[in-house]
Symmetry: C2
Subunit: 364 residues, 2 copies
């Protein structure tokens, strides 16, 4: 890891603040279900982990996400009895307009709030109403907060292992190789300014949405000379998007970086049902598992994208686990910080968004 | 509508082939649940309509989608009792490798198949096993098949009104104004080659994924002089993506076209719960509905994107209905065909995908 990175609170406090452990235990005793409310970096770690849980035998956890102020969504929530649902509001600044809208719509008697320990509407409401309060670190921004209470409290509420999640992140720091970031920077300089994150799994959508936010908001910036930088990130799911986007990638006018991700599925027992459906054309399908086919599609896509002149790399997750997700997320954080350093931009601010937010109330 | 379009089967047969009506009735008497299996254009209309149904009081229909060969997904399906589930396989060619994988994994005793009336593995299997067969029109490709049995059978199985869906499409043909396509073509020529479809609603993801496929696969082409054309489509959801992508759009290096979509929510009863949560900072939220805020965000985003020099337009859906979805989908079809005509490319083929598919089996 580059030296200046070692001093960032994001790394120096990794796995140290654990106020969420006891609170998660208490909440799990009181509530059967949870509703986690947040926007952007405050909710995308939860979404990543929640999407992962859908792969498991026992199915998705009793945990839902509220990341919008859609009137239909809020209306339906208002019709529900939420007395056995633990509600968690997450907003670093405590001023996020959507979160305050959600508070107004849901009017919970009790709730848990993760926000900075400073005066703000959300902080004041939490204190006034005796809600549970967990401090959001001042010096770690929303999109870098995966391994603080912002990611770890929901992780624990979903019955996932937050320590494994953090351990994965620590492993990624040890393993980090900056040469890949340099290759991405070179690819950018040669005009490959669109970065497609293509997951060959049904359970990576949330993870890749998290990566998308990290890449877009950290790197979409002007440098000191007012030169614009930034990758346009895109999330794809394979093989589905072979039938949607591949034609454009092969014959269209853009130059791309592709990060193809797949999950090692060797541990999955691929039982074959008795062959009710028989036809000579099915021999190929009787002799191979769906995993064989998925991998063949993956390798074929990788090859044709390379042949089309794009910058292609792959990431293999050993499994769909907290540890593997923590590893990949920290890997993307390190890569993003390295790219910011190469491009001489500040990855930690979002000046254009802050500026545009201020004017929203004009339209009320 | 331009004259040559009037002769396309997509338009001349609109709403005429109705084999699916009686079959849908029969299936609904036999089964409680449905699993619709398809890839690309064969499944995205179903996904669009299914996502819409989540907005309704009675919640999502007993209808699920299988659009992958993920081993975890197939394994979990294999563990389930599917005897009360009507399975529908959709593949125009009848050779889609993923669909045959799914047939092999699920081994259903009965199923319904939508495929071309010609020799193919899926056609043969359907005939041999006495499955219900609905012919897929030869002369309407997958991504233009929304208003045939491909879209209308699942629509009817979800208890939605397929006639309203088709009526919306017919209205869009009457209303069609080619000047917008010309504006998009001019925007493309001035370097705006990324088209962001940004839905300010939780229920448009499927619709916009459908648009994405239509745009990418129809227009991502080389013309007769081997010049590449194509828009990179991207789906966003607001306000969530204000916290993820807006920084990049305002300070980054790319030039964009934005289509911002919103749904008129005036009919939604926005009940206010009693104000348990009170604080002076909440006055703004007590005096406005979530819809007021959503619209303020929408208008603000529209303004800041325009000020940043992007090409911005808006589409307002009168409601979340079959009719409104049919209208928007046909509007995008007409626009896509006009753009293909302006760029002198063939919107109906996908030569690069067809070529790349052939090599997949090398990797088995």
């Amino acid at each position: 890891m580059e030296n200046y990175l070692r001093t960032l609170p994001l790394f120096t406090t990794l796995g140290e603040t654990c106020a969420w452990i006891d609170i998660a235990c208490g909440l799990k005793q009181r509530y059967k279900k949870f509703l986690i409310c947040g926007l952007g970096g405050s909710i995308l770690t939860t979404k990543a982990l929640l999407d992962m849980t859908f792969s498991r035998d026992r199915g998705p956890m009793n945990c839902a996400i509220l990341d919008s102020i859609d009137p239909f969504t809020l209306y339906r929530l208002q019709q529900q009895d939420l007395s056995d649902t633990g509600i968690v509001f997450i907003s670093k600044s405590g001023t996020t307009s959507e979160i305050l809208c959600q508070v107004q719509a849901l009017q919970p008697k009790e709730a848990t709030v993760i926000t900075e320990n400073k005066d703000s509407p959300l902080f004041t409401i939490a204190k006034k109403n005796g809600w549970t309060f967990i401090p959001h670190p001042h010096d770690i921004g929303g999109r870098f907060s995966a391994f603080t209470a912002v990611g770890c409290l929901p992780c624990a509420l979903m019955d996932l292992n937050a320590q494994d999640f953090i351990a994965g992140a620590k492993m990624a720091i040890k393993d980090y190789d900056p040469s890949e970031s340099e290759a991405l920077f070179d690819a950018y300089r040669s005009g490959r300014t669109i970065h497609v994150l293509w997951g060959y799994s049904d359970y990576l959508d949330g993870l890749l949405a998290w990566c998308c936010q990290l890449i877009a908001e950290s790197l979409g910036k002007k440098d000191a000379n007012q030169q614009s930088f930034g990758f346009q990130p895109i999330v794809n799911r394979g093989t589905l998007d072979q039938h949607s986007q591949l034609q454009l990638y092969l014959d269209g006018p853009h130059k791309y970086i592709f990060t193809l991700l797949r999950v090692n599925c060797d541990t999955i027992p691929l039982s074959s049902r008795s062959n009710i459906v028989s036809d000579s054309s099915m021999a190929l399908y009787q002799n191979h598992t769906s995993n064989d086919f998925l991998n063949a599609h993956f390798e074929n896509t990788k090859l044709v994208l390379k042949e089309a002149g794009h910058h292609v790399r792959e990431i293999v997750l050993p499994n769909l686990s907290e540890n593997a997700f923590g590893f990949v997320m920290m890997r993307f954080i390190l890569e993003t910080l390295s790219l910011a350093s190469l491009a001489k931009i500040n990855p930690f601010d979002q000046p254009a968004v802050e500026l545009s937010k201020r004017f929203m109330e004009r339209f009320l």
